[in-house]
């Protein structure tokens, strides 16, 4: 067996740290320009990243060969997802925005995993630079740190596919371009384009420049960090409309968005998942609106809030505005179900992903029919392509582990003192990378992430990572067989 390629891993981690440091230039500039005093802390953080980055890249990772195998690809995925959030915590600590280590790491993990659970009690009081950094972590996390790595590893085309698979496990994506690195860079281009478009739209609605940028980055990555303590309640209706549209769009498979822009609209209609996504959104919004209207909310407000809330939930974005005074029960049900289902596979959203659920649904339907006609032979087709049995089994396995993680997470949260029902909601919300949601607040207790005990925060962090990495990459590196010599 060949040796484990530590050098390459170190080199990549170092390079990423240097990039993070470079990215810090932007928040620092904003801080200097605004004069909010955070620039020193930010520069210090950048210096720390550059130091560690250089050490890893040029000394530990010197003479790295570019050989990459399955084992390394899992390891890289995990290491990258550990190093970056750790580095991302530095700016919070060094600017004094968050005082404890746990809080800083929590905020950072929540950012990179695009969860959006925040321990900052009033984001408006954060220095502008830190606010921007917070949004940027989400933006990068949205498309995935691994895509960043793949962009760095342009030469390693074969290996990139393995890496890609390690982060986007089991959703059978079509590549945008036969060449992996090219298709990834196309994804970045689309992503940037949408972000710019949304920023412009938000700015046109009369929001400040900083708010527009931060919220746009939160939306397209389906992150959910907001810039005010009251969520997005303080913004005007036009802003809400823009956000609703962009939240919905960010739950769509990036490849389909690419088709949309390149005018291959027929592909959109032909995508079964897209049809289900649109139908689900419409149905959920209709139910939610009806529920609010029945419980006495004026129709206009009910429609506005429902559209916004459903878009936010199904894309696992996690934005919220002030809900109408009476929170009907049906809204909770819809929220919970959508939170678990999540958005389309290949989008920036979290959750179980519709493609998986569709596959399971078709399989179940066939199964029941087979109970009556045992000799019948079926195949499952999605997008006119046959889904093979092995893949179906992987989906079932994934869903089993997902449920196991939610239950285990909820159990761990009760160990930290939560009640059973709210532990379930919190575990599910963070596992699906939704983050904050009025559902948790509707549970009655004043549940804020900032108030949680330290241990509970670490539990939530593990759930966020497991949800974002779709479990397998995380489990792979902790399984004994991974470390056994072959």
């Amino acid at each position: 067996m060949q040796l484990f390629n530590h050098r390459l891993v170190a080199r990549l981690a170092g390079t990423l740290l240097l990039m993070a440091a470079a990215a810090l230039i932007l928040p620092t500039a904003v801080s200097v320009w605004r004069g909010d005093g955070a620039q020193y802390g930010l520069v210090l953080a950048a210096a720390g990243m550059v130091g560690t980055g250089l050490l890893l890249r040029n000394i530990v990772g010197r003479r790295a060969t570019s050989e990459l195998h399955e084992r390394e690809s899992f390891w890289i995925t995990t290491i990258v997802w550990l190093v970056m959030p750790a580095a991302g915590a530095l700016p919070y600590l060094l600017t004094g925005s968050l005082t404890t280590f746990t809080d800083a790491v929590f905020e950072s993990v929540s950012g990179f995993t695009t969860t959006g659970s925040s321990v900052v009690s009033d984001p408006a009081e954060l220095p502008a630079g830190v606010l921007l950094w917070r949004a940027m972590t989400q933006w990068v996390g949205g498309l995935g740190l691994i895509l960043l790595v793949i962009t760095l590893l342009r030469r390693l085309d074969g290996a990139s596919m393995q890496l890609y698979a390690a982060e986007f496990s089991g959703t059978q994506q079509r590549k945008l371009h036969p060449h992996m690195a090219k298709s990834v860079s196309r994804m970045w281009q689309i992503y940037t384009l949408i972000t710019v478009a949304e920023t412009a739209a938000l700015y046109a609605c009369g929001n400040s420049g900083l708010d527009s940028v931060c919220i746009a980055m939160s939306t397209v990555s389906t992150g959910g960090f907001m810039t005010a303590a009251t969520g997005l309640a303080g913004y005007n209706d036009a802003t809400h409309l823009v956000l609703t549209i962009f939240m919905f769009a960010s739950g769509v498979n990036v490849a389909l968005i690419y088709n949309f822009f390149t005018l291959h609209w027929r592909r959109l209609r032909r995508s079964d998942e897209m049809v289900v996504y649109a139908a689900l959104f419409t149905a959920a919004a209709a139910i939610c609106t009806a529920a609010f209207a029945v419980s006495g909310t004026p129709a206009g407000e009910a429609v506005n809030f429902s559209l916004f809330h459903i878009a936010s939930t199904v894309s696992t974005c996690g934005f919220y505005t002030t809900p109408p005074p009476h929170w009907p029960f049906a809204a909770s049900v819809v929220t919970f179900l959508l939170m678990l289902s999540g958005a389309m596979a290949g989008s920036t959203g979290g959750g179980l992903k519709l493609r998986r659920l569709m596959t399971m649904w078709l399989y179940l339907r066939n199964y029941f029919t087979r109970m009556l006609h045992p000799d019948a032979v079926f195949c499952i087709k999605i997008d006119r392509r046959v889904v093979d049995a092995d893949y179906v089994n992987k989906i079932f396995g994934f869903v089993f582990l997902y449920i196991l993680f939610v239950i285990g997470g909820a159990f761990a949260l009760t160990l930290c003192g939560s009640g059973i029902a709210e532990a379930f909601c919190m575990a599910a919300a963070n596992m699906s990378n939704l983050g904050p949601t009025p559902l948790i607040n509707s549970m009655g207790a004043n549940l804020e992430y900032a108030m949680m005990p330290t241990a509970a925060k670490w539990v939530l962090m593990i759930l966020m990572l497991a949800g974002r990495l779709e479990i397998f990459a995380l489990l792979a590196v902790v399984s004994p067989s991974y470390w056994r010599r072959r």
């Binding site: 399955e70 899992f74 109970m371 009556l372 159990f411 009760t414 792979a476």
Partner: protein, 474 residues
Amino acid sequence: MLGILLAAEGGLMGLCVVPALHFGDGTAEAVALCAAFTLAVGGLLWLSYSRYRRIDDRRMAYLMVTLIWLVLTLFAALPLMATGATTSPSKAWFEAMSGLTASGGTIFADVSALPASVLMWRSMTQWLGGFGIVLLVLAVSPRLGVNRYALYTAEASGADITGRRPVSTAVTIRRTLTVYLSLTAVFIAALWFSGLPIWEAVNLTFTNISSGGFATSSTSLSELEPVQQYLLAAAMLLSGVNFTLLYLFFTLRWRQIGHKLEQFGTYISIFVAAALFVVGGLHWQMGLEWGDALRLGTVQTVSALTTTGSAVADTTQWWTPLTFLLLILSICGGMAGSTSGGLKVMRVLILMRNARSILRGRLHPRAVAPLRLNRQPVSSHIRSNVMVIFIVYATTLMLGTMVLMLCGVSATESIGATVGCLTGYGPGLGASGGFGSYAAFTPAALWLCSFLMLLGRLECMTVLVLFLPRFWHR
């Protein structure tokens, strides 16, 4: 076609009402009337349809399984209404369903105030139900086609456990019956020797050996002597073990069991691990003495794992993680081929193994590693069956909780009641948990819970297939 089984069950029911007569406390006449009526209907059905003996149609079989349970429940509810124990039909239906599915959730806030005949009848339904399900699984399911057969040969009948030669259904049924009857007799005797009045000994043995959980007092088992509590815990633990395994063990055919004990090993390990956690939690978090912690912890853990639901302490007042753990245990359930409910250890084992093999497959994409159980490969049929049942089970739990909340039950309590009913554990959380009862539930919620119990007992698929439009097409 329905008649033959219905009549047999009707006759048994009539027999079961007879002992209730002996306790003559003014309700004897009503109970006797119900018994006579049940016997009459059963007998009539039997006679008029005795010519049809075979169940050939798969559709008919599914329908019949569900119908049997529903009709039996209907008749089981009669004595409860006739004796005036409850006046609400939905409550009587719930209680009867809880009995026949061996769940153990009750709608009587004060059980001790009930007439003796009703108490006896409740225990009797559980004893019948507990055995009935094993019988049903063994006798009817093999006729339900390839898929079901594959599943059940894997878990319930003798084929997998006894060796390569599949044992005929009749033999398995005889063995199961032997084990069930002798266990009942042994535990009644043991409890009696330990100083319990014979009447309570019979009642409690009936409800615990069937992993049901009805009790003769509203504080369940908590007022018994520690020895008696441990005895009942042993009864519960045995009720969660595969009956064929027990038969082979007690008839000293150990070689046939051989090393095919994986499921049993897992069952025991889960029990020991959970009990350690609960006992530790009780001692350190709740400050109980070691002796008490050990007793309460083990009994409650067994009660949850085997989905019995007998209680020696009010678990709703326990440290939250302990309460939660008991819920999870009841979802896991006992061994396949036992009287317990839940998912069954066998399925959990296959689910875990499958997840692990998927993980391995990703790490070593070219490795070939079949899923194994008891050193034999598990076919992809069984694997997908287990997966489907798991997903349906999880979905039912989720939807059940939500619909229950729509009926106006609080969130935590809905979770508890759904788990309690679907797994056949019985008590839920909050008012319906611990020593509590479902008395405060609205009729709508009670009907839903009854439906969940039926779903859980018949393992979802058999009932759900009836809702398929295609099922009713000719």
